[in-house]
């Protein structure tokens, strides 16, 4: 394993660990306010300082990791779960009406600005983490469908697919048995990229108040709340910002590293 992969793994695992630990323990209760201790800079008692309500920022970041990862993970799950089969179906029926219908539907979803849809969803159902998941997830579907279809199309021209056809295998079976495993690299990379974009999107939606609602902690909302105090107490903005940057960076490194590591051909060249 090479350094970028290790670094990516370490950063991603750190975020994951923080999220998991926050399920059972945080250094301070993030719903308890202590106005007397507000806006304290980092100290032995509060390693990352406190916010304007005197809540421990470290504890809030841990809880926020939970929200970010849950939202991004489920959103990528929705995107892959629907997008990959759609892409495979389109590629297996390339050139047909089915292909055309699937891809044009994708274009339609692509054509809507995601933020506007998110606003629409929250306007109808009210702002919540669940609606943020839905909004982000829906926009992941065409991404995965396109990536899958594009790569699958070039695989369909290869001779080993001919050999499978000669062995009497139908398009569904070939898609699952031969196409999908050869897309794994690509999907892992795209998955981690979408995962990191999902974290950014969740932060963005929370920032404008359309994501997780108080008292659920969220990195994006922490940034939004810190905005007015950034000159007074910069650490209130810096730490959530760093959390987002490092997690996204870690995921991208992880995706790239995994692609190289998982491919038997690349493994041999090294």
């Amino acid at each position: 394993m090479r350094l970028p992969l290790l670094l990516g793994l370490a950063l991603s695992l750190a975020a994951l660990l923080a999220a998991v630990v926050s399920l059972v323990w945080t250094p301070y209760d993030i719903t308890a306010m202590a106005i007397a201790e507000r806006l304290q800079p980092p100290s032995p008692a509060h390693w990352l300082g406190t916010d304007h309500f005197g809540r421990d920022i470290g504890a809030m970041l841990m809880a926020g990791a939970q929200t970010s990862i849950a939202v991004a993970l489920v959103a990528v799950g929705i995107g892959m779960g629907a997008g990959v089969p759609l892409g495979l179906i389109a590629a297996a029926n390339r050139g047909s009406l089915i292909d055309e219908a699937v891809m044009r539907l994708n274009d339609l979803v692509f054509a809507f600005p995601s933020l506007v849809i998110a606003i629409l969803i929250t306007a109808v159902f009210g702002p919540s983490a669940l609606n943020a998941i839905l909004a982000i997830g829906i926009f992941n579907v065409p991404v995965f469908a396109r990536v899958t279809r594009g790569a699958a199309l070039s695989l369909w021209t290869l001779d080993f697919i001919r050999a499978a056809e000669v062995a009497g295998k139908g398009p569904a079976r070939i898609s699952v048995e031969h196409i999908l495993p050869n897309l794994a690299n690509l999907l892992i990379v795209q998955g981690t990229i979408q995962f990191s974009l999902g974290i950014l999107a969740e932060a963005g939606l929370s920032y404008v108040g359309l994501g997780a609602q108080p008292p659920t902690a969220s990195w994006g909302r922490m940034l939004a709340e810190a905005q007015t105090m950034v000159t007074l107490a910069p650490h209130v903005a810096i730490f959530p910002g760093l959390a987002i940057v490092l997690t996204v960076l870690g995921l991208n490194l992880l995706g790239d590293g995994l692609r190289d590591h998982l491919d038997p051909r690349l493994r041999r060249i090294r």
Binding site: L158, D159, F160, R162, A163, A164, E165, V166, A167, G168, K169, G170, H178, P181, N182, A184, P264, R265, R268
Partner: protein, 532 residues
């Protein structure tokens, strides 16, 4: 006097030796042939001469071109030489041209880069060079894009670019390997004419002994980064002093020992098969023009027979093959295997499908890189149901094609091209079909590996009573392994008959043209081979 003198050229990349002590001379106006199998270091020698070695390459020795040692020249001087004094053309005309630029601009570019002419003059010169390589103004305006040309025409454009500044040396790296025989003959003729008229030296790199025999005055045989033998072409071919040269020579004309075991029963019958494709509309509302890829083809293969199907790219042989394999439907006519109708896709019963298998050309694309060999070879069991002793049968099939049972657990990238074709044959063999379609199955292999695979195919045919449909553009291979042959052109069978008869006394003009275009080693050079 020599134009290019290579002395003791050694190359290594990351401590792996690539070339060892390569020495040869090219005189002005001479055609020099460099022959060897893939991986022998032919192309690296050419890149060394051009100073285009990949980064990390350590070179030792001397490459003197017109007195200057190219290895010690700074990059600025080298760029001035490249294109100007030394031109180069490559194997793949599809990728050697920039698809976004017109052919006129590409040829003119060479002149502009070397500031040999102003824009208007450069275009005039480009026009002139393109005409010289057989692309006259009337039919091939400068404004054409590479995709509007055929492979042979693109190779002509590449040649025009290489000779734009009348270089003293032209390096041609497998210039005709990707082309059809008749196109190959035309390109070789063109190169011959240009070297004669321009007094240009040609360094011809190829794996094909017959091509060298017809072109080069002087030849060097390369093996594993060394030149094992060199001299005047006729002498090298006649004496074959080095063991490797003898092996190459024997392999290139190799004919597996086979006895015709054709039985009278008909196995495969194609009657008046027609397959059309819709082409893109020429304008937005015009109807789709239709291309008849297969135009009323009829053929029969008897049990145990080996039938050849030859034709150039685009003649419809692949489409016909797909129809025979039941992968694509035909629009009229019928295909019958052992009396039962072959239909495309799901409608064809598995038991019928199990009676034929296929081996493809590309040893790299024929296998799912994510599966182990055991699973790859077992894939056709999908047709018959996996037997309880499947893994024993896979092991037996691998051993039958000259591999080991232990290879089952390996991935395909661990095998060489020739071994991969053996795996492909094992896969085709595993369910004991009656017919194996060999779609250019040995075209991508080096001559010696090709000879071994042909031997293997002949042996398997003998022991299993297999019938082969041998689809190829390579006439010499078809001649060596088939009983009967069909010649296909523009979707039709133009000639059919016993292989030897068709090749020695071709009756259709197209067959005659094909036979004439196939490069051969002169018979009197071969004869003396029997003496040693």
């Amino acid at each position: 006097m020599t134009l290019l003198s290579v002395r003791g050229l050694s190359l290594s990349i990351d401590a792996t030796p690539i070339l060892a002590e390569v020495s040869f001379d090219i005189a002005p106006g001479e055609t020099f042939g460099l022959v060897g199998e893939s991986g022998s270091g032919k192309s690296m020698t050419a890149l060394g001469v051009m100073g285009l070695l990949p980064s990390g390459t350590v070179a030792a020795g001397e490459v003197r071109f017109a007195g200057e040692n190219l290895l010690s020249l700074p990059e600025r001087r080298l760029t001035a030489l490249r294109g100007n004094e030394i031109g180069m053309i490559f194997q793949e005309p599809m990728t050697a041209l920039n698809p976004m630029k017109t052919i006129g601009d590409q040829v003119a570019e060479t002149l502009l880069i070397h500031r040999a002419a102003r824009r208007a003059e450069a275009r005039a010169a480009a026009r002139d060079r393109l005409a010289r390589v057989g692309l006259p103004e009337e039919r091939f305006p400068l404004s054409l894009y590479p995709h509007e040309l055929s492979g042979g025409q693109r190779q002509r454009v590449a040649i025009a670019m290489a000779i734009a500044l009348r270089p003293k040396l032209l390096i041609a790296d497998e210039p005709t390997t990707a082309l059809d025989v008749t196109t190959q003959a035309q390109i070789l003729d063109l190169l011959k004419r240009l070297t004669a008229e321009e007094g240009m030296a040609l360094m011809l790199i190829t794996h094909d002994l017959a091509v060298v025999a017809g072109m080069a005055t002087h030849v060097a045989v390369m093996q594993q980064g060394r030149i094992v033998e060199d001299g005047a072409t006729g002498t090298v071919f006649r004496t074959r002093a080095h063991d490797y040269t003898r092996k190459l020579f024997a392999a290139s004309g190799h004919r597996p020992a086979r006895t015709a075991r054709t039985r009278p029963e008909t196995l495969l019958e194609v009657e008046e098969a027609v397959r059309e494709y819709a082409l893109p509309r020429p304008t937005a509302f015009a109807p789709h023009p239709r291309l008849r890829a297969v135009d009323g083809v009829s053929l029969t293969i008897r049990r145990g027979e080996s039938l050849g199907l030859v034709g150039e790219s685009g003649c419809g042989k692949s489409t016909l093959t797909r129809a025979i394999l039941g992968l694509d439907p035909i629009q009229s006519g019928r295909v019958r295997l052992g009396g039962a109708e072959v239909t495309a896709g799901r409608t064809m019963p598995r038991a019928l499908r199990a009676r034929m298998q296929v081996v493809f050309q590309d040893p790299y694309g024929s296998f799912n890189p994510r599966h182990r060999v055991g699973r790859l070879v077992a894939e056709p069991f999908h047709l018959t149901g996996t037997p309880t002793d499947a893994s024993d049968r896979v092991a037996a099939a691998l051993e039958e094609v000259g591999l080991e049972a232990g290879d089952m657990t390996k991935y395909i990238h661990e095998f060489s091209g020739g071994q991969r074709q053996r795996v492909a044959i094992a896969r085709a063999l595993i369910i004991r079909p009656d017919l194996i379609v060999l779609d250019e199955a040995v075209s991508a292999l080096d001559v010696r590996v090709r000879a071994q695979v042909l031997d293997l195919l002949a042996r398997l045919q003998d022991s299993h009573g297999l019938a082969y449909l041998f689809v190829s553009h390579d006439l010499s291979v078809v001649r060596a392994v088939t009983d009967r042959v069909l010649v296909m052109r523009s979707g039709r069978i133009v000639e059919e008959g016993e292989t030897e008869t068709v090749f020695t006394r071709p009756s259709h003009p197209y067959t005659r043209q094909l036979v004439a275009a196939t490069p051969v080693i002169p018979a009197n050079w071969k004869e003396e081979a029997h003496d040693d």
